[in-house]
Symmetry: C2
Subunit: 255 residues, 2 copies
């Protein structure tokens, strides 16, 4: 166990990378690994660290339907967890769902008791189990408005069905581009882009592109340094920041 | 619904990409999406497709300990599922485990009833919950020998504790390289490599590097075309095949 000195008067100290647990707030007086979460300790300005800790901890709700793709949600779940966001899983009910026919998951919340979220996220893989369920779409429409909506892959169809993609530039899984265009003709659907950020609504391309979209959202709210640090920690070596489209309110106008 | 013609005499037909379900065997007479699994249909030689279908369907057991990292296992789970492998989750017991403090998972098997596997896979994130549990290590040592052992991130410590890394060249999570060297001094531990393949034992670097290692293992047993097709489908655009080390029996000799 390393000696911690939370009441330090030193200007710099060693802190673990944000893991979302209480140890994020512990100051250590030498490098090594955090004895609580196991993450590496890095030298930081105490003032900057305290400022970061006072940032609001964002609540992210992952809506997972039965049949959801594993990597669609697991990439963003990893990224948002390392950003220190408070991540939870919601589904139509609290009954177990099976992701990709393999992974049996127990949701924390149902649509009847899900708390308000800062980020509401949707994923592909049997997205029809959400889009064809009026109770789910009604929940998406009526849930307390989050700061950001985020979709990976064919999760975009869920946002579309809830009427949220009209007049926006968006993207989806490469094999579902035409289908999304037909389903939501008021949206401008782009292919060959990792993510499209409309300010409040971020849609990403398929499966592993969710990692890039999540890193972009972290960069947007916590800064590029934090996003780069997370990508490095995850050994997502080939990540290129900002490799997506950020649009102004006017359709298709890149910033 | 597309018309299927499994009894076709045609030389070519449209088949869905291998998803591991029965629809893998259905021949369609025009392109589109598989009405069963939703995957794109591609034109293939009927003879080649039948030959591929007769390949043994590999059984992959994912050992997941409480606290396992989500992306560590989700990347390989996605890759192996698309390769048509039969993937299942085993843990010490069938009680739910929580991955990364967020994702509550119900294992299909416990170490007491896990079936024999062709690939036995281990992952990082609280790996100590496995390495410090004599019953788990005994199971790893005594389980019917698979064709391949596969580890991602600090999952290498589980193989090491079971005595399987001696005299091999291996890798692990970038921040655990020194720790693995100290724990298993008979192993040659490399840094800055996405994966190391010793023939029967494949270890990968941290977290997202598991995707690369899994694609490598698919390439090894099903050929590069299948691995490239899966990477493309997953939109893992920047994947570079063979970006790892394949060693001969002699330590550190690259093929």
């Amino acid at each position: 166990m390393f000696p911690a000195f939370s009441q330090t008067k030193a200007k710099t100290a060693y802190f673990c990378e944000p893991c979302g647990n209480e140890c994020d707030r512990i100051a250590f007086n030498k490098p090594g690994k955090c004895p609580h979460c196991g993450m590496a300790l890095s030298l930081q300005s105490v003032a900057t660290h305290e400022k970061n800790m006072n940032l609001k901890r964002l609540k992210v709700l992952f809506y997972l339907q039965n049949g959801v793709e594993v990597l669609d949600f697991a990439g963003p779940m990893e990224v948002f967890s390392y950003a220190g966001f408070d991540v939870a899983v919601v589904s139509k009910t609290k009954d177990p769902i099976v992701a990709q026919g393999v992974l049996k998951i127990i949701p924390q919340y149902s649509i009847d008791d899900a708390p308000p979220a800062d980020i509401l996220a949707f994923f592909g893989g049997a997205a029809g189990n959400a889009t064809n369920d009026p109770a789910v779409i009604k929940w998406v429409q009526n849930a307390p408005k989050p700061e950001y909506y985020f979709s990976v892959c064919t999760g975009a169809f869920i946002l579309g069905k809830a009427g949220m993609l009209d007049n926006l530039t968006v993207t989806t899984f490469h094999e579902s581009i035409e289908e999304l265009r037909k389903a939501f003709p008021k949206a401008k659907v782009l292919s060959n882009v990792r993510f499209v950020d409309n300010g409040k609504i971020i849609t990403t391309a398929g499966i592993s592109a969710g990692i890039d979209g999540a890193l972009h959202l972290v960069e947007k709210v916590r800064g590029r340094d934090v996003a780069v640090q997370i990508a490095k920690y995850m050994e997502y070596d080939k990540w290129v920041p900002a490799q997506g489209l950020v649009v102004d309110k006017q359709i298709g106008t890149a910033k």
